[in-house]
């Protein structure tokens, strides 16, 4: 039997197997100058150019497998295992989990507020908890939701600590998670400049300021306003703090995304800056 060679119609370059010394990576081994040089199974099999021959015919011709049946059953087993591992890895992208949790959290907070509002409306009509079943039920539900909210917040903090320790130490678990959610992932946040992080969540105000020159100043802070170091400062220095904090958040997110080490210095610097601003020494 001869190797079936398929020369491609619109290919101008010869197949890489024809070039001297170039390696081809096939799932059943490595091929060099038309010879199998390394017979190990590998589910990756990446080659930059189209192969000019049929890998199955080649394997059968080289008697690497007895027959087509063995070829396919080996390949199938190898690929199913490797793709299954890849899949669990892909599904475990924990920033996706955190994003989902934050979205759930927002819904729950909205529900709590709505229920609280209705609860107060009913009370204003003169009804009391003791005499009205509906009021009591609403109160129980609100308490239940509050509990759920705490559980979710706890989970977010735990997971944040695990996947982004630096970001968590600088921004805090919940604020950090919100930033990841708004950015669309930890990697996206890591690629953002600090100035953008500063106004995440205040896009409306930002574009308003950019569009109409007369109306409105650009926003000082978006989501990061929820950070205690900004919220508790007096108004005049909040912008300064927001600028500093967001640039540190950018650094922290990059370390978490591309590295592993935890640096405590960043959080300390932020704290130092906060204390200085709070005391009014700047």
């Amino acid at each position: 039997m001869d190797i079936q060679l398929y020369t491609q119609k619109h290919k101008t370059l010869p197949g890489p197997h024809m070039e001297e010394g170039s390696d081809l990576y096939l799932w059943y081994g490595r091929v060099k100058n038309g010879q199998i040089v390394d017979k190990t199974l590998n589910a990756e099999g990446e080659n930059s150019e189209p192969l000019s021959f049929d890998i199955k015919s080649f394997a059968l011709h080289q008697k690497i497998f007895q027959d087509e049946r063995e070829y396919y059953s080996t390949l199938r087993e190898l690929i199913i295992n490797s793709e299954e591992m890849k899949l669990t890895h892909a599904l475990k992208e924990e920033d996706k989990y955190i994003i989902a949790l934050i979205k759930t959290l927002d819904e729950i907070i909205r529900d709590i507020n709505l229920l609280n509002e209705k609860y107060r409306e009913l009370k204003d009509l003169g009804y009391e908890d003791e005499e009205n079943l509906i009021l009591r039920e609403i109160k129980t539900r609100i308490n239940g939701l509050e509990e759920l909210r705490e559980i979710i917040e706890e989970e977010i903090r735990d997971k944040m600590e695990a996947i982004a320790p630096n970001l968590t130490s600088v921004a805090g678990g919940i604020v950090g998670a919100r930033l990841i959610e708004r950015a669309g992932g930890l990697d996206k946040l890591a690629r953002m400049p600090g100035s953008k992080i500063q106004v995440i969540g205040a896009e409306r105000a930002l574009f308003m300021a950019l569009r109409k020159k007369k109306k409105g100043k650009p926003p000082k802070h978006g989501v990061i306003y929820q950070h205690p170091y900004i919220r508790t400062l007096r108004k005049a220095v909040r912008g300064k703090m927001a600028r500093y904090l967001s640039s540190k958040i950018a650094i922290a997110a990059r370390i978490d995304c591309f590295g592993k080490t935890k640096y405590n210095e960043i959080a300390e610097q932020v704290k130092q800056r906060y204390e200085n601003l709070n005391r009014g020494s700047e």
């Binding site: 189209p50 192969l51 199955k56």
Partner: protein, 216 residues
Amino acid sequence: MDVSFAGLPNTYFFLAGNREIIITRSEYPSHYGERKFNGYREWRKERSKFAVLIDKRVPIPIKEENVLLYLGAASGTTVSHLADVLSSGMIYAVEYAPKPFIKLLKLAKERNNIIPLLRDASRPETYSGIVEKVDWIYQDIAQKNQIEIFQKNVEFFLKEDGFGIIMVKARSIDSTRDVGEIYNAVTRKLEKEYTILNVVELSPYHKDHIAILIKL
């Protein structure tokens, strides 16, 4: 019995009540909630664009022992029927999204003629050392650059005497232009490199979709 051969291996038209349905011979359980008739599974036109081609009597010269590369396999609805059709052949099913891949993987474990690949169809080089030269390339990915992706895969894997089927969703190529205009642009692009055998509209089952059957 109201059964007639549908032109593809293991595929038949079947009169259920007064409605004509398509069935494939299959010893396997229902995969996406389709009905089963002792030893046959219903191939639902609403779920699978390929079934519409059969419904419209488009000649598809596919053989039982053919090897097919399926781009955009999703959760494996169409793949499950094609695996029935290619009972002694092989399907390489490429899907990049993890969520639908869970179901595809389950299907692949059940059958012995599906090789599932969790890879990006726009980068055929990443599976070039795995997929052999194939008789068919079937593409169902609703993406703007789907034609380029198809061409790239043809270059990597299609045999000289191979065929291709492309499902084009007009709205993912351009959401504002006229549908007919988009179809024309796509067919003109394909005409340059391949022989177009058939262009089929998939309405009413799939809105603003066409199927293009090509030969290298």
